[in-house]
Subunit: 393 residues, 2 copies
């Protein structure tokens, strides 16, 4: 290509991450991976999905293989609405729900609804990488708010809002990616009210909601104040199977209509067969037992990781202690650079994600993210022992 | 909502079509539908898909239910590349292919890659409605080019390009939606060369390629000149099953990389199970027999529609005579308004799509689109008889 590429201006903000490309190459190798966000595929309910799929294709193949409604399969919308009513979104009806290809699509559609070039986004720092990349693609600017053990530091968020009115506020209240921390009820309430007062659009990514191992479930930020521009997103990727690409969003019906228009021009509608598989799985009462089984396994792995960190790195590093989810954030002394350290860890067969790319306006050079759902307890112990040796140089 | 809605500027161009909303309501009723683009679900290869799906879930469930690569399932990419080599895209390798959630997503990603607000798009008038809606959402402007029995009028396109350099040229060369016409080889060659000379990005939507009932298959515009910014899109929706949402695009690898970055932030990757179902269906040699069976049925229906039009409306209306695809465009005298006429047709149990919304800069008020794939031959004959009565008032 000799001429300058005739791409849209937004493409200057859409770039490959060298680190993520590097990590992609490790997917096939014999590594102990603390890097990915992949659930353990041995826990997928494959037999139940096989049974359901046979029945759907035997009884309902014409609809399951045909084009469908842009807003989703009506029975699944109704099931999700009922689930969200139990979760504290007490007004949820099917008209409040849009089914999406994973919650990533819900994030992208919401950003597309609200963001112009230069729009300020209030965001936790660190935050979910693929959300940052999506906001980048809409040429957002950032109002980063630090995260501590109770989640987004809401007093700082409220100060930021007073200086600059954001066009969107993005939060992951439960077992945040990448830190693993959960926002306290008091902070949720304050954040919800501050946003509702100014009618600032809220995007609440609750992908990890059901992955709680201990402590009390807390109500969604979206449920704690009346905000006509709040969008709450969830997914079946972490609790049924990610390959089916079924997620959803909740918002007021007027907003759902606008988001459905965007869904339609994006990919017409969500997969007809996958929506039916997920619906049948849920309708038969198989979801909660699946979640419980999975949480028992992941809770043991989380404890194994926290125990290995305490045994090996007490006094050397600090780390978060999540009540569920998939991730722990490990912070080394400022003199460390976790991107450089990764090269050495990879030579020893261990991979993680350097935290730098999770900080929308920079930072996190000496932190790294560890997932505890991909590796067995034994592998976790070995991996942390190796990582400790690498840290000690 | 008391305040003005805090939506992105683009949302002023994303609106519901009153006509499409009206037609949506007819989907459940007892209408003879010339309106939708729905394939006949009785022709779906449901038994074969059931068999394949059982085998995939028995042998490969962990991968079929897990997250997958953003660019798609490698064996399917390789199969598509081989298919496109046979179709005239002789350099196609897996690196030239991105798997998408239907070809609609391929159109949306390509628009996202190339279009800024105000970017001029060279486009057939009429053209595919959901593509126009996508371009609208990127705040495009239009350089409309008329369509005649040989497709896009390329001399007019070349004149338009001389006046204003488009940021994207969009064409549907085969059995164009909504007109049904096919672009001649001579025009394809001229268009390809004119775009390549100025390195103007080309988006070639070939969703209907395999739906040819008569005449010779023609090479893609993309194959006729070396243009680093050409994107060619196709889909399995019209030849396997739309509910599986599997489409693809072909472009030079450097461009595929950029489009894959957009795919990833949009919905991470395409459905893992659906991609395997489509791949197995194709790999077992079942695609071409399925296409042949389907084309026999649709060809009979096309002939029934053309015969009914000739019998009832000769001297009253004009219509296109497609060699395949799904649609015929019917033009009434200028005094007719097909939106008003639709109300009367619906009272008599017949629905079609008024053509007005297919014209990006207006026009088409006295034209309408008829599909010939949803209704049986007998229903087509009855429907056209009713429509004729409505036209005669």
């Amino acid at each position: 290509m000799n001429h300058p590429a005739p791409f849209a201006r937004r493409m200057s903000r859409v770039t490959a991450s060298a680190i993520m490309e590097l990590l992609k190459k490790t997917a096939q190798g014999e590594y102990i991976s603390f890097a990915s966000g992949l659930p353990d595929p041995s826990l997928f309910p494959a037999e139940k999905i096989t049974l359901i799929t046979q029945e759907i294709l035997a009884n309902d193949s014409r609809a399951a293989l045909q084009y469908g409604a842009a807003d989703g399969y009506a029975p699944l919308k109704a099931w999700v609405a009922e689930r969200l009513r139990q979760r504290g979104l007490t007004d949820a009806t099917p008209e409040h729900i849009l089914i999406t290809h994973g919650s990533q699509q819900a994030l992208d559609l919401t950003a597309r609804l609200f963001l112009d070039e230069g729009s300020p986004v209030l965001i936790e720092s660190p935050s979910y990488l693929a959300a940052i990349q999506t906001f980048d693609s809409y040429e957002a600017t950032y109002l980063p708010v630090p995260v501590d053990s109770e989640g987004m530091c809401v007093e700082e968020a409220i100060s930021a809002i007073k200086r600059t009115t954001p066009r969107l506020a993005f939060t992951l209240p439960n077992f945040q990616n990448p830190s693993g921390v959960t926002q306290s009820l008091e902070r949720r309430q304050k954040l919800a009210e501050a946003l509702a007062e100014k009618q600032i659009p809220l995007l609440e990514d609750d992908a990890y909601h059901d992955l709680r191992h201990s402590g009390q479930s807390l109500p969604p930020v979206t449920s704690l104040a009346r905000n006509p521009y709040a969008v709450y997103t969830g997914t079946f990727s972490k609790i049924v199977a990610p390959g089916l690409r079924v997620g959803y969003l909740y918002a007021q019906p007027e907003l759902v209509n606008r988001l459905t228009q965007l869904k339609q021009i994006t990919d017409l509608h969500s997969n007809s067969l996958s929506q039916r598989i997920v619906y049948q799985f849920c309708e038969r009462g198989w979801l909660d037992p699946q979640i419980e089984m999975q949480n028992r396994v992941y809770s043991s792995r989380r404890k194994a990781l926290l125990a290995a960190l305490a045994e090996n790195l007490t006094g050397v590093a600090k780390w978060t202690e999540p009540e569920g989810g998939m991730f722990v954030l490990l912070s080394l002394p400022d003199s460390f650079n976790t991107k450089n350290l990764l090269v050495k860890a990879m030579e020893r067969g261990v991979v993680y994600v350097p935290a730098e790319s999770f900080y929308p306006n920079g930072g996190g050079e000496s932190a790294l993210r560890l997932n505890f759902v991909s590796a067995t307890e034994e592998a976790i112990q070995r991996g942390i022992a190796v990582l400790t040796e690498v840290i000690h140089g």
